[in-house]
């Protein structure tokens, strides 16, 4: 209803990040896993390089290194060679074979090949999952959730209709959406644990991409959720999906194992956190732990401290669909006027949103944002923000020109407080600069 588009045939300063990269990212949250990009060597090189620059960390990805003749004659041969080598050399627990537009456009149906390969090589005990993610459909968020859905599906199928074992009443599945940083995931895990739950997280970037120094030569992921844990998901009492894009894998779990789920599409700010904690309180029968009550006090107090600096200001935000709406809710909570919301592609959530959202690029954000005080987007927006003289908050993907953005916490009361203070200080410095000309130098 409220989704709009600028009419132009070209994308200027694109916001879209290829879904295959989102898929590679999701794989990083599983232990001893590797993403195998089935496409040209460059697809893997590019996404590895971009993810590396954002997380400042090693990324587990491989390539089937397709060239012209392979595409024309037999891409499966490359895939087989790649799988053989990867399995023989690294013995991964999980390989997600991500098809690119190259394989998609050339019409290669490699999932049949993978079924066959898996049957023949079953003894090697490695889960191989095909997910086709051509770049011309969706964005990072879609690729990420599709891979999670693929993994969940595979786990369900691996169960083969057998009962999943005794239900674990104190166990929760957490499906964190793609806009959450490893820091965010860690925070959410801690929050849920503090209500007395065991948490199974998929994907769990908090133990793989938060930055650690475990050494060794494995080109596999060096953290994330182990496959054995994932199998336990089917016994959980509840699934919590953070971000509307994570509803599909949650629904799979419900259908397969009757695990109810709750989707939290709001992630940022007081109200969103209140909803999550109220839910956890109700589900656990444990009242909100003291620590979070303190954090809520601190957050409300910081909102009071900051409110005048926010009031009357305006913002433009260009982020992935779930992320942009959640940020918009937080901005509204702070009394910020929204000049424009831009997302790279349409999703169900956006269609149902009350807020007007534009499907577009960072150039559109620049147009919508004229006069805005604040600009929120990935790091490519920094220059556009400067051109329209807006303060710049880096969020989303990629943020390759800042340190530590991957451990920033913006969820929970503590994260919201950090957000309130960080952005508030930008607005203060901005106001200060406005007066500077008139003052003594």
């Amino acid at each position: 209803m409220t989704v709009k588009r600028f009419v132009k045939p070209v994308s200027v300063n694109p916001l879209t990040v290829g879904p295959s990269l989102g898929g590679v990212l999701a794989v990083q949250g599983c232990y001893r896993a590797i993403a195998l990009l089935h496409g040209a060597q460059g697809c893997a090189a590019f996404s590895k390089s971009l993810l590396t620059r954002h997380f400042r960390d090693t990324i587990a990805v491989q390539t089937s290194a397709l060239q012209e003749m392979d595409v024309i004659f037999d891409a499966d041969r490359n895939l087989e060679e790649a799988l053989n080598l990867v399995i023989a050399k690294h013995r991964p627990d999980l390989i997600v074979v991500i098809g690119t537009e190259l394989t998609d456009v050339s019409g290669t149906d490699y999932s049949a090949f993978i079924r066959k390969y898996t049957r023949e090589q079953a003894s090697r005990g490695c889960l191989i999952i095909p997910v086709i993610l051509p770049d011309f459909n969706g964005s990072l968020e879609l690729g990420y959730s599709a891979v999670v859905e693929g993994i969940v599906d595979a786990v369900i199928q691996g169960q083969g209709g057998r009962a999943p074992g005794k239900p674990a009443a104190g166990q929760i599945n957490l499906l964190p959406g793609s806009c959450l940083t490893p820091g965010d995931v860690m925070e959410l895990k801690e929050i849920i644990s503090d209500f007395g739950f065991e948490v199974i997280t998929i994907p769990d970037l908090s133990t793989s991409l938060s930055g650690h120094l475990l050494t060794g030569f494995s080109p596999l992921t060096r953290g994330g959720a182990p496959l054995d844990d994932l199998k336990q998901m089917l016994r959980s009492r509840y699934t919590i999906a953070i971000g509307a894009s994570m509803e599909r894998p949650a629904r799979r779990l419900q259908n397969a194992a009757c695990i109810p789920y709750q989707v939290f599409s709001g992630i940022h700010g007081l109200c969103a956190t209140d909803e999550l904690l109220a839910f956890l309180q109700q589900l656990s029968g444990v009242s909100v732990p003291l620590r979070y009550r303190w954090q809520r006090e601190n957050l409300l107090d910081s909102m009071l401290d900051a409110h005048f600096h926010y009031a009357g200001s305006s913002a433009v935000a260009a982020l992935e669909p779930d992320h942009v709406l959640s940020m918009a809710a937080w901005l509204k909570e702070m009394g910020v006027m929204i000049k424009g919301l831009v997302a790279p592609c349409e999703t169900q959530l956006l269609k149902e949103a009350e807020q007007e959202v534009w499907i577009g690029d960072l150039d559109d954000a620049e147009t919508l944002g004229k006069g805005a005080d604040l600009w929120i987007s990935n790091c490519h927006g920094r220059k556009g923000a400067a051109r329209i003289r807006a303060s710049f908050l880096a969020a989303g993907f990629p943020v390759s020109d800042e340190l530590g953005s991957y451990v920033n916490v913006s969820v929970g009361y503590r994260g919201a407080m950090d957000l309130v203070n960080r952005v508030g200080n930008m607005l203060i410095r901005r106001e200060e600069a406005r007066h500077e000309d008139r003052l003594c130098q």
Partner: protein, 482 residues
Amino acid sequence: MSTDLGSKQNLIDEMLEVYPDKARKDRSKHYEINDENLINCGKCSIKSNMKSRPGVMTVRGCAYAGSKGVVWGPIKDMVHISHGPVGCGQYSWGTRRNYATGTLGVDNFTAMQITSDFQEKDIVFGGDKKLEEICREIKEMFPLAKGISIQSECPVGLIGDDIEAVAKKMTAEIGIPIIPVRCEGFRGVSQSLGHHIANDAIRDFLMGRRELEECGPYDVSIIGDYNIGGDAWASRILLEEMGLRVIAQWSGDGSINELAIAHKSKLNLIHCFRSMNYMCTTMEREYGVPWMEYNFFGPTKTIESLRAIADRFDDHIRDNCEKMIEKYRIQMDAIIGKYRPRLEGKKVMLLIGGLRPRHTIGAYEDLGMEIVAAGYEFGHKDDYTRTFPDLKEGTIIYDDPSAYELEELAQKLDIDLMGAGVKEKYVYHKMGIPFRQMHSWDYSGPYHGFDGFKVFARDMDMTVNSPVWDLLKDPQRKAVSV
């Protein structure tokens, strides 16, 4: 010495043992240990420019990266369309740090990333119509753009689009050169073919097409300098100080006009041999422009190169050159005096693209550092023959090594500094090995010329001698954390 060579060979053999037979045999051909023979004759049997193996993650990119990312991207007064789905356009954005002066939207469009953002329907029905519209739209949005290049992504080559026809039609319609580049990512074994394809497009559409109003006896062009962190600027001022006139920069901070007039040079000076040697040989063949390689990394090589360049001109230039060298030598000695004691004897390993594995050797040696192993991401035979003579006996040379091989080597050689690409960076950090990203100078630069050496020396010191490495390794501290 031969014991040393032997132990190096053992080291390589050991490292390759983990591979299955066939792979081991294959990979071993990509290794060589420098010896007197190789140094003297420069010939080598190292295998290079071969297809990478599926399932062995190399550090290589693709043809699109070579064309759009390296060669065409820096041309500042043109709009470069990443033609196809949006991914590649996003990935290649802002990765190379090619500096360029100018005003956005007037004579500089490099800060803009343009993609045709194919949707499913474009794949199904073909993208030629869309491409026409895009050209018109660009003309409208950026009326001052002096040209458009179309950088093909993989699907374009598969769905049978005729971008050449569109380019021709639209050139006529909108009145600026529109250049189709067939750099689909699946072409060739690395970004190297992308360079070649990009070069061919320059040759076919721009080279030799324009005239230079006034030609002079000292006109030269800089070929193969992408102005990373300001490299070309640091080079250009030296040539100008010598009395030469730089009429074109290919392609760092360059313009479309410079691509079309460089054939008027009296001499083409090529820095990155790998990515642009075709252009020099073509200009030589078609326009009789002589060319020479030079190396502006580190004072020793820079001075050598300056003299060699001056020697191609007259006494006036030679005199200028000597005066200039005299002047800068004092500065350079001060730099070396400051940093060499902090870097002496440090062992360096390199894996880079283009010209750097050989060109940077002198700069490291000026600082007393030792190259213990080096190689190319996407080198060709002619790169390697150029490399052996510059390296000491016993240096290990490799081609397109895998991440695993590099990590093994680094540990076995107990190196103090690794220079490679960003994808490799954090592996070495985690191993406690200082690392410099040597493609785009890791947020720094320039590294060329005398100005660049100041930055280079400081950067190497900052990297190698940061206290963080000791903190990382301190066993006592480690105990605390267990």
